[in-house]
Amino acid sequence: MSVAELICPAGTPSALRTAVDAGADAVYCGFQNATNARNFPGLNFTPQELEEAVAYAHGRGAKVLLALNTYPPAGRTALWREAAEIGARVGVDAVIVADMGVADHIARAHPGIRLHLSVQAAASSPEAIRYYCAHFGVKRVVLPRILTIAEIRQIRKEIPCEIETFIFGNHGLMVEGRCSLTSYLTGQSTNMDGVCSPASHVEYVRHEDGAMTSRLAGFAIDRFGPDEKAGYPTICKGRYNAPHRPEGYYAFEEPISLNLAPMLHQLIEAGVHAFKIEGRQRSKSYVRTVVSAFRKAVDEIRAGRRADLDGLVALTEGRKQTQGAFATKKWR
């Protein structure tokens, strides 16, 4: 049985402390700029804060993983190199990368740093993963959320590195690192700027009949009845019309959360080394609740006991849940 580390999100220094206190084996975080894929206002760390966070986590036996998982546009690579330099200086335990140029730089300039391959690199086959292991010494791959457990088990047999999978939180639909939907509608790029459906471009428009439309950069993304709770306008969770679906439908996916709580045991058996909880943009109390619940569940499974999963299922706050691609190929 694999170790099943619990990897938890930290959007702020206080969220990081909360995650560590709640039992995270490792936390992942990023700087306040385009070098990471959650470059949202009010989130992330200054170099000084990262240094303090590393001290806090290490003092309590937890690791800190630095997300440098965006793609620098030509002419701006210095920002990513500086971020790697700071990460090395303050002693982060690993850097999570996607761009080959960034990976190559870190492998050569900071050979002591452990590299993890971000989900943003979209490595979904043993060959792709082995490419990054062979050339950049990647020690762990974060798998795209598009594989079944059977496929993960097979991949594990064919690669020389550890596997990390998302188990809870946002359910990414598109192959990460290959999505320019936000860039197309807003001019801010997920790959280059670390932005996805940015709040600065969001508006909610109330209609006379009480209905509400959520918009991104002026495009209607979803429409809600007077009694419905309006969701955030993420492009790939929007409602659109198509020739065969004139009534409007969720063309890509419904607003839904990933929750693999019922599958933790199978994932461990498949050889998954680390479980990742999504949500660097979420509140401290959310982090505390989710991390504590998964800590308990993972510990029970590791002790050979049945985990009480009801609490985990309730965590999605009434939102619809899915096991996405992990359970069945029919998801595709």
Binding site: S125, A325, R332
Partner: protein, 303 residues
């Protein structure tokens, strides 16, 4: 001299349509290089692969260079196998769109496709060190970054390609959205994407066209069209301009871009003619100008 290329067909056009299309390209279109092969969905490949040798031969006899493109998403056994097979070819040249292809190709010469995320000079230098001879830049890369990337690639002796026409690829997924629209899944799709030779249009709930679905791929509603920008691209070191096949008169579109490159046609005339060729499809150039991709930024008139 700047070359014009025709990218791989993104859609599931039936074999006969493809044969006719490439016959016309061979005879009438002023493109120098043509990319063939299925890039989007491995379920489509069996339909048109049997015609591939003849198409390659037809295009070669017409003086076109042929390059085979690999799948953008590689996950299933058949996709891994198809990628490895292409990567083992000595000729024609191959364009790789997934790291699985890079792994299989090793250091033998290859081109880097637009799905490989060659965003910057460091990545391009790495790729060149591993045998890449040519790079197609990501479609969302803004002008200043295109210039730096192209300069770096030229300095390494590489060809540099940028898309100047056709719908932009905005996303790929493991899920087939064509199948989903018809209440099916990818495994029982019955190749319903064949119904939409220029992608399936999605409109917002207030009826504004927004995106196109092409199987597992999501594309822009607008046709990307760089016209005024071409002198700048060429000056920056871009050696190849890519036209993506759409369900319009592609030979006419290609000849228009050739005339523009040869200064036989002004930018204003080219845009007017392109609008005629493209019918109702909106044209866009926002990505190049660092704006929302769907937008059309008018060049300020010369003072």
């Amino acid at each position: 001299m700047t070359k014009l290329t025709l990218g791989p067909i993104a859609y599931h056009w039936p074999p006969e349509r493809r044969r006719d299309f490439y016959a016309r390209i061979a005879d009438e279109a002023a493109v120098d290089e043509v990319y063939l092969g299925e890039v989007i969905c491995s379920k489509r490949a069996p339909f048109h692969e049997p015609d591939l040798p003849e198409t390659i031969e037809r295009l070669r006899r017409a003086g076109k260079t042929v390059i085979l493109s690999t799948l953008a998403e590689v996950m299933l056994v058949r996709e891994r196998k198809a990628t490895a097979e292409l990567a083992s070819l000595e000729a024609p040249e191959i364009e790789i769109n997934n790291a699985a292809g890079l792994f299989a190709r090793g250091r033998r010469p290859h081109r880097i496709g637009p799905f490989m995320n060659a965003y910057n000079e460091a990545t391009i230098a790495w790729m060149a060190s591993q045998g890449a001879t040519h790079v197609c830049l990501p479609v969302e890369l803004p002008g200043p970054a295109v210039a730096v990337a192209a300069g770096a690639a030229r300095a390494l002796g590489m060809g540099v390609e940028a898309q100047v026409f056709g719908r932009a690829s905005l996303a790929v997924s493991a899920r087939c959205y064509h199948a989903r629209a018809h209440g099916r899944t990818k495994d029982n799709c019955r190749h319903v994407c064949e119904e939409d030779p220029d992608g399936m249009p999605l409109r917002t709930t207030d009826d504004r066209p927004i995106l196109r679905v092409n199987g597992i791929q999501t594309q822009s509603e607008s046709y990307l069209a760089l016209i005024d920008e071409i002198p700048e691209l060429v000056a920056a070191g871009v050696t190849h301009l890519r036209l993506m096949p759409q369900a319009v008169d592609m030979a006419a579109a290609a000849n228009l871009f050739r005339a523009l490159l040869d200064a036989r046609l002004s930018a204003a005339e080219a845009e007017a003619r392109l609008r005629e060729i493209c019918g109702d499809a909106p044209l866009s150039n926002g990505f190049y100008h660092g704006k929302a991709g769907y937008r059309r930024i008018a060049r300020a008139p010369a003072a």
